[in-house]
Amino acid sequence: MPVQYYIFLSIALFCIGIMGVLMRRNAIIIFMCIELMLNAVNLLLVAFSKMWVDAGRIDAASAQLFVFFVMVVAAAEVSVGLAIIVMMYRNTHSVDINILSRLKN
């Protein structure tokens, strides 16, 4: 199977994530779309790892470890980000990101 299939799938998921970030105003949905983009990149890294294993490279495990580290960073990011969103909801009783534009003054 050509690796292009996986590239196109990852591009589609990444672009859907970008569309979600641009189209929605709910902070939690935007956050989930960021997770979706991270997952698209993870899938592409795993596909390339498999591709290099099949091509005879022996150090292809690094790509899977990169995916592991991306998951670690994503978990840390989600815990802090959701805490920030909860605090924002407590102060404004909304998760609309347009309310955050008040912060500029």
Binding site: M1, R25, N26, D54, M71, A75
Partner: protein, 164 residues
């Protein structure tokens, strides 16, 4: 067409449909459920690509922990479709068009790339936990320890932000 390609097409269709459901559904709870479906489909791709350890970690960390955390926060805030903030229509179209333009550019740029193919029939043990563990604790010890510090700081940060 082999069984691998059929599985690939089915999993990809589920993943893309669920991802579209995330950004198109009005109710945030439906978005989270679509996201869980999308993550399960991606986990299926991992096991098709001989990444068994990542399959398990992805299911546990993303589907089990992160999305449940999202669902928990949504339930705590009691959000529903009625109070969902809506963008103006032309902004939505602008977002969709710019995302579609990026999709078009990336596909056009990578369509002709010459890369080695994936042999789905050949099984390799590179994704097993012993192999990954050896690489992790020989070449990547410093990032591993740094990520533990990152986790500790994230935990402290979440507690401090949440306590106010």
């Amino acid at each position: 067409m082999g069984i691998e390609q059929i599985i690939f097409i089915v999993l990809s269709a589920i993943a893309i449909a669920a991802a579209l459901g995330v950004i198109l559904s009005k109710n945030p709870v439906n978005s989270v459920l679509c996201m869980i479906t999308c993550f399960v489909a991606i986990a299926g791709h991992y096991i098709m690509l001989n990444a068994q350890f990542l399959f398990v970690v992805h299911l546990i960390v993303y589907t089990g922990a992160i999305m449940v955390l999202f669902l928990f926060v949504l339930m705590m805030m009691n959000l529903n479709a009625e109070i969902e903030p809506q963008k103006r229509n032309w902004l939505k179209y602008a977002g969709a068009i710019s995302g579609g333009a990026l999709l078009l550019v990336l596909v056009a740029a990578l369509r002709e790339a010459s890369l080695p193919a994936i042999q789905t029939s050949s099984a390799s043990d590179i994704g097993l936990i012993s192999n990954l563990g050896k690489t992790l604790f020989t070449s990547y010890v410093v990032p591993f320890e740094l990520s533990s510090v990152l986790f500790l700081s994230a935990m402290v940060g979440a507690v401090v932000i949440g306590k106010k």
